[in-house]
Amino acid sequence: MLTELEPILWPLVTLVVGIAGKGIFDLITARSVGSVAKMPTVEQIWARLDKVEASLSRVTTDLSTVRRVFRSYVDRVQRGGKTDLTDDERAALDETENHQEAKR
């Protein structure tokens, strides 16, 4: 049935699919299109706050882990240990790059 359409309609089909896709995505994520058009319920607002809090606390945990790994690295080197990075230290270093990127 799709191929029965005239070629002129192809862009229109893509436009409709794209707009419908955004509509479905908005419905799934319950994102308010405008504060008047779709006001979240009180439960939804609390759920959002919980989500934000969870992701923030995850970042904080990551950060303290990274900091502890670097401290132990410095301790080891000061005590005359190897300067080569272990796998964990490498991962910690990469973690800082990820956060740097997210800052934009």
């Binding site: 191929t3 002129i8 862009p11 401290r71 990127e101």
Partner: protein, 136 residues
């Protein structure tokens, strides 16, 4: 995490240039599959939506860029559909399959771009702890 902005800008600019070339030189695949006089309109939509997308990207106007990109994809993919129609003349089932595949492949393709931009980075999956680093 995010695909570099210059890559997007390059793509939008390239498609604007493509629209200009389509008006001046012509696109045989579009001429063969669409009525007379459609190609300049089609190329015009590509040019305008490419410029709109670039402006939205530069100004951080995401809604504007979203609409521009949607029109850009819609009109540029018409070229792909035209080629598919010419290549599979009369074979409606295969043509439908080609169109469906293009739509489905959008997600792996965008995921690929995100992973390319992210690079080869390790993630801390566990808490290494202090004692473990002390022992080494």
């Amino acid at each position: 995490m995010a695909t570099p902005r210059w890559a997007y800008l390059l793509t939008y600019g390239g498609l604007v240039v493509f629209g200009i070339i389509a008006v001046i030189v012509g696109v045989p695949s579009i001429d063969l599959t669409t009525p007379d006089g459609y190609r300049p309109i089609w190329a015009g939509f590509i040019m305008v939506s490419g410029i709109v997308s670039a402006v939205g990207l530069m100004g951080h106007w995401h809604t504007l860029e979203r609409w521009g990109v949607l029109f850009l994809v819609a009109f540029t993919s018409a070229y792909v559909f035209a080629i598919a129609k010419l290549a599979l003349q009369g074979d409606a089932g295969r043509q439908a399959l080609a169109v469906i595949l293009i739509v489905v492949l959008i997600f792996p393709a965008s995921r690929y771009l995100v992973l390319v931009a992210r690079g080869r980075r390790r993630v801390l999956r566990h808490d290494p702890g202090v004692t473990r680093a002390d022992r080494t």
